[in-house]
């Protein structure tokens, strides 16, 4: 009985709807709405993931080609750097003398004494600012700007190229020409030393030929680690 009722209900509904579906207006609306929903459905579930995958893969190809090119360039640069390094291999000890990795205060003192002995003057005073011999240093860092340090700037990454100053003041006593030679030789040593200031005065009023030169100077070191 129940199924008969249902059957009749649906027949009635069908009889109501069938004429409606035959009108052009309803057919057009139904066609448009169903088309839009279908396109939206497949666009969401099929087209979007496919297009995204295609684009991502193309981008990957582009980026990896770029990385490959840059790595090729870097390999060539490394080969060139190796050849350049071989050319200056004999100069490496001189370069490390010029700009050591540690403050190397002792060797600097020996050099200063040698300068004094060579020029026949007396090294009467030597005063170093505090220096960290072991551990990390909180001394102000000097950005690389001098010509001598430029090769390191080229080879190493820019942020690692920092040179630390080692300040000291030195006093020499001797004749005028010898002291001039000392000052000249200080700036020509095989370790980079810059003179910030220098003053000259007579050692004694009676002995006017003996002079005292006091110089405030900086030596430098370049910790690689």
């Amino acid at each position: 009985m129940n199924s008969n009722r249902q059957l009749q209900f649906w027949r009635k509904r069908y009889a109501e709807v069938t004429p409606l579906l035959k009108t052009r207006r309803v057919q057009a609306y139904t066609m448009i709405v169903l088309s839009l929903f279908t396109v939206s459905f497949f666009g969401m579930l099929a087209v979007r993931p496919t297009l995204e995958t295609i684009t991502t893969l193309q981008k990957q190809i582009e980026d990896r080609t770029l990385v490959n090119q840059k790595l090729e360039q870097k390999i060539n640069a490394l080969i060139t750097a190796q050849a350049e390094y071989q050319k200056i291999a004999s100069d490496i000890p001189a370069i490390y003398n010029m700009l050591p990795q540690q403050p190397n205060v002792t060797s600097l003192i020996i050099k200063l004494e040698e300068v004094a002995i060579t020029q026949n003057v007396s090294l009467t005073n030597l005063d170093f600012s505090p220096v960290t011999v072991f551990g990390t240093s909180d001394v102000a860092q000097v950005p690389v700007a001098s010509t001598a340090a430029e090769p390191a700037k080229d080879i190493l990454a820019a942020e690692s190229t920092i040179v630390l100053p080692l300040s000291f003041s030195v006093t020499f006593t001797g004749g005028y020409q010898e002291l001039v030679n000392v000052i000249t030789q200080l700036t020509r040593m095989n370790r980079i030393v810059t003179i910030e200031s220098a003053d000259i005065q007579s050692a004694d009023a009676a002995q006017s030929s003996t002079l005292i030169v006091g110089a405030t100077t900086n030596a430098y070191y370049f910790p690689l680690e």
């Binding site: 981008k59 030789q185 040593m189």
Partner: protein
């Protein structure tokens, strides 16, 4: 009861939303770089040229 016009409006907005979704997804895929941080570090350019003038200057210095 939803009439035909409402259905049409809903379907149009759904369609537009899906189109925007597809376009934004594709745009995001184009814009996002596929190069990792490690690769970025590896491809940092390196200038192998040494300063010949500085090397000559070092060579010319005294042995002190």
């Amino acid at each position: 009861m939803i009439n035909q016009k409402d259905l049409l409006v809903i379907s149009i907005f759904t369609f537009i939303t899906v189109i925007f979704w597809v376009v934004s997804g594709v745009y995001h895929a184009i814009v996002t770089s596929q190069i990792t941080e490690v690769q970025e570090e590896l491809i940092t350019p390196l200038n192998p040229k040494l300063n010949a003038e500085a090397i000559e200057n070092i060579r010319s210095r005294s042995n002190l």
